[in-house]
């Protein structure tokens, strides 16, 4: 959350008139380019004339340089001069050009009519399940945060049942007539959450937005979206939940932080959800700058599997000889005898290939694999009992009853967050809550040690608070 210059959104105009229009819920809270407005030219002109839409330059020019108001980019080499169609030498932002080019002469149109009146839903939540005491604790804090429009970090272990924990807070926000956004870096999470939330809130207008989605936002009160979609919003939401706030690409992309901050209304509640907060969130939490609630226990009440470290110093030497590291080979045989299903994480695509070849054509997946979905489904359907993967499966996917191995766990790609997430794949089902997690290594890294400590710490916290 570091910015070269302060994030200031003073340029977003407040309502200029108390006049409303049937368009307000559709148009408010967005950065519109004229070409994308869902209005006829005459309608647009009319709304501008009445002060319901206001033009604002899309690129700002400061003494220290230029900034794109859509993506927050201030990097000089990415805001470049060109012979613009307007006849001048303008600058344009290369950083967010996929969403349409923004030039110095481009304006956004922003809604400056009366704020839309969002519906106040009575008893919106249809879910009838029961929260665990830990989930209830988290849920209560979320409700508080909605009411006092504050900020909250929900630090919940993998498998805590985050979604259900949100329901009371969402219901409260809907009762207060708030507009809500649940944002996440990953589009598969958006797709997965939409049906679950629609089922829990059957009478609420929910739109699921991601690159290539069928839904469009024509004024839905509740948006589920990838963090990328926030580049289109300004002062739109009363409540924002950022799920998996530490995941790629959100955590490393200042554009998305800028967009998320801009998408919030001046008074709004902001809730971060994660099992593995990164340094800046952790620091704010420890320094008590960010109120935090821990959910240290899984929904089924059993502790997290603690990873074992097994030395495999022969890793580098054995692969070229078409052999498996000895300790890993033994482990794999044991799993085979016990008829356990396993996921093996490897640091590189190349190693995934090598390992698959040694294991007689075992199935492997990676980020550039076009058949990724099919292969994961094969594993889910128990057609195969072993799946080799790079870190792409570290999050999101849940298989009920598996054991987990990490090869070369000391490799740089396995940072603390990745290792905690990977360990979190095991023991997910109430019927089989234990799982074996092994980090095979040729020299343990500090990330491995920190990951194990973080897991043990959560288990300790759960034990202590239960007493």
């Amino acid at each position: 959350m570091i910015f070269s210059m302060s994030m200031s959104f003073d340029w977003i105009p407040s309502p200029l008139t108390s006049v409303s229009s049937p368009h307000s819920s559709k148009l408010a809270g967005r950065l519109w380019l004229e070409a994308n407005l869902p209005l006829s030219t005459e309608e647009t002109a009319d709304l501008i004339e009445k002060g319901l839409l206001t033009r604002v330059p899309a690129l700002e020019s400061n003494w220290w340089g230029r900034r794109c108001r859509r993506c927050g980019n201030t990097t000089e080499r990415l805001i470049v001069p060109w012979p613009c169609g307007c006849g001048q030498t303008c600058h344009y932002c290369r950083s967010c050009i996929e969403m349409g080019r923004i030039s110095s002469c481009t304006s956004f149109l922003l809604w400056t009519g009366a704020d839309p009146d969002w519906h106040q839903h009575v008893d919106a939540c249809a879910w009838t399940g029961q929260l665990t005491p830990f989930q209830q604790q988290g849920a209560d804090r979320i409700v508080d945060t909605v009411e006092n429009q504050g900020r909250l970090l929900v630090w919940a272990v993998c498998g805590a049942g985050k979604t259900e924990m949100l329901f009371p807070g969402l219901e409260r926000a809907l009762a207060l007539g708030r507009r809500i956004c649940l944002a996440t870096p990953r589009s598969d999470v958006v797709r997965e959450l939409k049906p679950r939330l629609q089922q829990a809130f059957p009478h609420v207008d929910i739109a699921a937005l991601y690159g290539g989605s069928d839904d469009v936002d024509d004024g839905a009160q509740f948006i589920i979206a990838t963090t990328h979609q926030l580049l289109k919003y300004a002062r739109a939401f009363d409540m924002m939940i950022i799920d998996e706030v530490d995941a790629f690409p959100y955590h490393s992309d200042p554009k998305l932080h800028f967009a998320a901050a801009r998408s919030l209304k001046r008074h709004a509640s902001l809730i971060y959800l994660t099992a593995t907060p990164r340094f800046s969130l952790k620091a704010s939490s420890y320094l008590k700058k960010l109120p935090t609630v821990f959910v240290p226990e899984r929904y089924h009440g059993h502790p997290l599997p603690v990873p074992r470290f097994l030395a495999a110093f022969d890793t580098k030497a054995s692969f070229p000889k078409n052999q498996l590291p000895k300790t890993f080979n033994d482990w794999l045989h044991q799993k085979k005898n016990e008829k356990r299903r396993v996921i093996v994480f490897v640091p590189t695509i190349k190693m995934a290939e090598t390992l698959a070849a040694i294991l007689d054509g075992a199935v492997y997946v990676h980020s550039e694999d076009a058949e990724r979905k099919e292969k994961v489904q094969q594993f889910r359907d128990k057609e195969i009992s072993l799946l080799i993967t790079t870190t792409i499966l570290e999050r999101g996917v849940t298989f009920p009853s598996i054991d987990v191995a990490v090869i070369d766990a000391g490799h740089l790609v396995f940072d603390e967050a990745a290792l905690v997430q990977i360990a979190g794949r095991a023991g997910r089902s109430a019927a089989d809550p234990y799982g074996d997690v092994v980090f095979f290594h040729s020299g343990k890294s500090s990330a491995m040690v920190r990951a194990r400590e973080a897991i043990q710490d959560m288990n300790r916290r759960a034990r202590k608070e239960k007493r």
């Binding site: 080499r77 470049v80 060109w82 012979p83 169609g85 307007c86 290369r94 050009i97 996929e98 080019r101």
Partner: protein, 223 residues
């Protein structure tokens, strides 16, 4: 220096030769540069289509029966998936500066194919709507990489105006171009993609009709 396409920072390798004679900084990183496929090997001498033997292809034979206005086309790159993405971002998303990805190769392919400097470059024009949409004409951007005089000698006949004509008029004038500045010297038409050659043939016909003695074409990509 950051790669113009992927924005990765390139750390130049310092060896003693680069200390003595500093190399020109590369615009594109090596990984990205290796994805571009410059046309080479045997091709049709008229349209640059890749062929097993260097002979006139069937399309060109057919074209010649109808019109021989365009003498030949020279293209720089092969059309692959990579090029498709690059062109999409440059032309349709409007990332103007991406022309820098091609500039050096455009210059060297052009000077190799057209050693004489006795010609005018005529970029294929966009319709007014397209130009307003994109903010620039990609054909003109290519022409501007080269060291020859540019004449915007053509314009697109407005399709509305065309529809007001009588049916007989329309039949006669399927050619979408009109010459707004006749050129009595050799012309090299410039465009981004050569696909069927129709566009360039029409442009060539229009110029020849107005007295141009010779028309060739230079295109960035052979589709």
């Amino acid at each position: 220096m950051h790669c113009l396409w992927c924005d990765e920072e390139q750390v130049p390798e310092v060896v003693w030769t680069t200390v003595l004679a500093p190399r020109k900084e590369k615009v594109v990183c090596e990984a990205c540069a290796s994805q571009f496929s410059v046309l080479q090997g045997s091709q049709c001498p008229r349209c640059a289509r890749p062929m097993e033997k260097a002979e006139i292809c069937s399309d060109c034979i057919r074209w010649q029966e109808q019109s021989a206005a365009l003498k030949r086309n020279v293209s720089v790159y092969e059309y692959n998936n990579w090029m498709k993405d690059v062109i999409a971002k440059w032309k349709y998303r409007g990332d103007y500066v991406l022309v820098g990805l091609f500039k050096d190769q455009i210059v060297s392919s052009f000077t190799h194919a057209f050693p004489s400097k006795e010609a005018f470059l005529v970029p294929i024009p966009l319709s007014e709507e397209r130009l307003a949409e994109r903010g620039f004409n990609q054909a003109l951007a290519i022409a501007e990489c080269l060291d020859l005089p540019i004449e915007q000698a053509l314009s697109r006949i407005n399709s509305e105006k065309q529809s007001k004509k009588t049916r007989a008029d329309r039949m006669r004038s399927t050619n979408p171009f009109q010459v707004i500045l006749p050129i009595k010297q050799p012309v090299i038409l410039v465009d981004d993609i050569y696909t069927t050659g129709r566009t360039l043939q029409f442009a060539a016909e229009a110029l020849v009709r107005e007295g141009c003695p010779r028309v060739e074409a230079f295109t960035l990509v052979r589709g």
